[in-house]
Symmetry: C2
Amino acid sequence: MSTAESTVRPVLIAGEWRQAKYEQTFKATDPNKNTLLPTEFPVSLWEDCDAALEAASDAASKLRQLPADKIADFLECYADRIEAAKDALVEAAFSETGLARSPRLADVELPRTSNQLRAAAQACRTGNWAMATFDTKAGIRSCYEALGPVCIFGPNNFPFAFGSVSGGDFAAAIAAGNPVIGKANSSHPETTYLLAREAAEAAKETGLPAATVQLLYRTSHAEGERMVADSRVGATGYTGSRNAGLKLKAAADQAGKPIYLELSSVNPVVMTSAALSERCDEIANEFITSVLMGTGQFCTNPGLVILQKSDISDAFVKTVTEKFSEAAPGTLLSPAVAKSLASSVQQLCDLGATLLTGGGNPESDRCALANTLMMTTAAAFLDDPTGFQTEAFGNAALIVIADDVPQMCVAISHLEGNLTGCIYSATDGSDDDACQALTAELAPKVGRLLNDKMPTGVAVSPAMNHGGPYPATGHPGFTAVGVPASLIRFGKLTSYDNVRPHRLPALLGDQNPTGQTWRLIDGSWTCADVGS
Amino acid sequence: MSTAESTVRPVLIAGEWRQAKYEQTFKATDPNKNTLLPTEFPVSLWEDCDAALEAASDAASKLRQLPADKIADFLECYADRIEAAKDALVEAAFSETGLARSPRLADVELPRTSNQLRAAAQACRTGNWAMATFDTKAGIRSCYEALGPVCIFGPNNFPFAFGSVSGGDFAAAIAAGNPVIGKANSSHPETTYLLAREAAEAAKETGLPAATVQLLYRTSHAEGERMVADSRVGATGYTGSRNAGLKLKAAADQAGKPIYLELSSVNPVVMTSAALSERCDEIANEFITSVLMGTGQFCTNPGLVILQKSDISDAFVKTVTEKFSEAAPGTLLSPAVAKSLASSVQQLCDLGATLLTGGGNPESDRCALANTLMMTTAAAFLDDPTGFQTEAFGNAALIVIADDVPQMCVAISHLEGNLTGCIYSATDGSDDDACQALTAELAPKVGRLLNDKMPTGVAVSPAMNHGGPYPATGHPGFTAVGVPASLIRFGKLTSYDNVRPHRLPALLGDQNPTGQTWRLIDGSWTCADVGS
């Protein structure tokens, strides 16, 4: 790295911090001040992409030969290093995202990130993600294996936990045995640079191939599309806007390359009148906390509420409107987010939504918009369900008021695929029939169904599904959060038919490689050896 | 059904045999006589597709409410009915495909088909396919669930076992809880009609929704593309030509609808000189049996052999050439297959492959081409690896002769994704170093790696992978054969977060629903109840 020669941050290719091949540079913005930060980052030309792909291809072959323990060691070493570098990471992320240093960045997101890496390490060590399956009679054994170099495009809203060289996709791709080419999110390149430094050091320290982790900051859209379709790529993970994501998807699909997308979601919350009658204030408070948390910039932010018209729903709307007006609006991640939020709100109002509070233009001296609540009728919603499902990413929500439960069901049946869907109902079960009808419509539309709980907490749990039908994601069968299930996305299923024992992967040997790996042997899951 | 009004076969929509909405009809050919069969089949207009989609949508909702046992009952009833209708089915399939009545159709493919349905029924009954996962501490439970109506486009080469209303995709889609709209393969519509009759009766007998199984015979390409992209569709399964499959894929991809494809594969077989020195005749016989079986019309037909130049490989080639010339060529499935085979052979010869035996024009009084063996050098192959991987579907193979093991490795590294790849090596392990190098190149390219065994047997085993990297299929993580893994393709992952116990699916209740369902509870696979 030669900062003497240039103030432009180097890219990480083949284990070296190199000056990028670039013609343009960019800078991030401090959203709390709405001013550009000083550091320049290169917009890489194809030459950088090509070099990274070539190095990743080589690293992929080398990683295939390494024992899983070595990869797990790397993930754990990296987790430790992230914790040791906490202060600098939090400071950089605070400057670039405006997210609170504490508790958000230092005490919530950073520990989540290192723990995610450790959980992935554990899945890698045991191989439990790989679904080792044995048919001893037929002499066939199968498991998931490393797929090849993974490109990761991280989102703006979680600089650590979904970061392209530190987050859930990264942890999953590496734990499945693949090298990663990270494309930093343009709103927090310095944070990503600092993370990549730790990752590169961890790779060195634990003896992993030099190109296990590589970093570019930005490319043109065309080069991004070329990259995800490149023959050397195994798969791509993308979290971000629907527009950019669908362009990458089209390119990857045409080349037959798997791409896992997390695009957008309005995360409908359905509340029965019986639930509101029972605990209106409590639910209103839960909702307000959830929808304004992180200035509403969560993938699972509850942006759409469906209620039945009644005095109690009027009261709910009144309470939420008042609290939205009273609460100080948080800082948004970037000028682009603020602009897009204001524009989405305007779009919804243009369709006929009533602005109950908020809206207007972003603040000028920081990235922020007034907390915004809108309302419409189910009848209006049903006139243009696509338009009314425009995601207003940030501290805004739309309430849809239906005449009755059947109309609520019809509105739900017109929802697009979403990450989550919630139903709040009475604790005494008096509205169980309504709930059954609402659930029958809602469940097929969402990746995670909740009861009496807001969707913003996404636990790193083996039972978590952070996924859902299109256009929330690109495929309804995969989760981006949760170990070991999230690793499967970056695996290739391989069957070994009559393959000689000494040529089988360790996971498929007669002996259980760790003594604690779950394997499906002749129809039974067991940690025992074959034939024992 | 009113055959009095029309001799055109009716379509099966919403449980009724209706006259199709059509403008054109088609007939199948008897490939043993190269003459058209008498029955006419309609090319359905969009009106039929739309009606089928609407009925399937309704059936999907109803199926979601049914206990898994009911669906399993249907699959078993249908399996019994297929066996009872064996004579008529075999006769129809023989007329339409030219495949031998016995053993092929009656004693191999038909029992495989009914057993596949029974295996799927068992997976449905236990729910073992659904990967029920519990995080009791976090209160989250997840499993795969029915995804929605599945369109199935069956191939020409297995009228029963891969048939659109009877085969592996069908069994998997139904067992996962989805209704199926089958599109018959145009080369055996009468066989598919007879199967659908049994399926419809079985659905009636076991009380399944009327539209659980529906059948169209053919649509225009445009309507097919419209169908797989329709918002009412859950997913599509397609087995057939690469060209038609990629068009459907593009349409489905753009709509964000999962599509599982099995397109084409040359199934490379690599033989070391040591293996041939040890058992040349034995391997030659295995190869000839495998490559000419079913007149070479298997997805896993070994169409590409990679050898190292030596006296023994010359001997191998000589033996195979002689036996190819001597063996009577089998009947091909249709005039289109015969024409396409002759044209692919010509294409390979035009690229410079030497025709050792066979080639020429198809026979005129039946669908057949002389058994065809071609040869080229690895150097020539590497000049145009894409061209030389043209699939010659039928009784033909190409032998590639390399100078040495490193050149064999380079040739393998230029292979596209394939369903299978085989390595034959010496039993004494003297060529283990060569095998390691060859395997390192071959394994990432194939879904199933074999040793010392030809790829044509595709066991219905939990450890089978009948899949592979693009363009063998559309995604490297899924198998089309093998229960329960093949069911996952037609499932949607759903997480239940804090959902009240009485609203959970039976699979996710505290009590194990069958006492023998494998569920992953807090990190351990068990058939026990939660908390026991």
